[in-house]
Amino acid sequence: MAAAAAMAALCRRLTGALRLPAARPGSAAAGLAGLTLNLFHKNLAKVEPLHQLKFVHTTVSRKGLEEFFDDPRNWGEKTVKSGDAWNIKQLRGKSSEDLHKLWYVLLKEKNMLLTLEQESKRQLRPMPSPERLEKVEKSMKNIDLVVREREVALRLLQTGHEKPAPGEWRHDFLGRTYWY
């Protein structure tokens, strides 16, 4: 939880460095394939233009609890369009910082979808586009796999072992095999 502060600081620095174009209203599905580094474009578009913009104005996301819910334009719709899940090959091309940020974007999206699911059960209505949940979960699993692969590779280079802790296969008195 404490490392999320480092992530927020990174994001603040990066949003300052990125010069983004006007907001794209079409990308309603945050965190799914097709969205590159324009993660916080919606928030930058909300900044009121000052008369003399001589300094770089950066904002971190100012949304708060609204992030638990979808875009208000999508409330009450029967279906919500969303892109495909992130592929492992696509994720392997991203840097670790990007993967870290993507993880949190996907986590917030998952929280939003879970709130929508619970609310739809409460109101006895069908949930619009439940396949988004599966896509998000698959993407998160893929990110986890890629990060683990990189960790293993780093550990092999540094120490020569794959696993962080030593272990071996053993047989108990019944002959069953287990890892210890």
Binding site: M1, M7, F68, F69, E77, V147
Partner: protein, 147 residues
């Protein structure tokens, strides 16, 4: 969580897999209280940090309880079916913020396609009902009565 010993490093979780969903409170709550369902392993400290760092929401107080899911429903094989347990967190927002759970299913006006389809359906149902009714001159009496 791994055990913390004095002088050891602070536990950091880099990619938390904990979910947290906002729910509509069943019992009316005060204005600044938000009700969440969180994963069972989260503590009050965890929830506070999660909301403050990831969602940028100021948190004044957190109270948690575990809701037991019932185990007395039975399926077709007469086995008991358990509803999953979950942890409920009541979070009071700082800085005087208030929160009302929004209506996520507002009435939207139907487009012409759905409206015409609904009209078609209603007309078809009326026609079927008219066909089911017998001779109107018999006054509702079924036609398996003699004469």
């Amino acid at each position: 969580y791994p055990l913390f010993q004095l002088g050891g490093p602070q536990l950091r979780i880099f990619r938390p897999n904990f979910f947290m969903l906002a729910v509509r409170p069943g019992v009316p709550q005060p204005e600044d209280t938000v009700q969440f369902r969180v994963s069972m392993e989260m503590t009050k400290v965890d929830i506070r940090n999660y909301l403050e760092k990831i969602y940028n929401v100021p948190v004044a107080a957190v109270r948690t309880r575990i809701q037991y899911g019932a185990n007395n429903k039975r399926n077709h094989k007469n086995q008991r079916v358990k509803k999953p347990d979950y942890k409920v967190a009541y979070v009071q927002l700082g800085q005087g913020q208030t929160f009302q759970f929004p209506n996520l299913f507002p009435e939207k006006e139907q487009d012409t396609e759905t409206r015409s389809f609904d009209d078609f359906k209603n007309k078809y149902m009326e026609r079927e009902k008219q066909r089911q009714k017998g001779d109107p001159r018999r006054g509702g009496v079924p036609d398996w009565f003699g004469l």
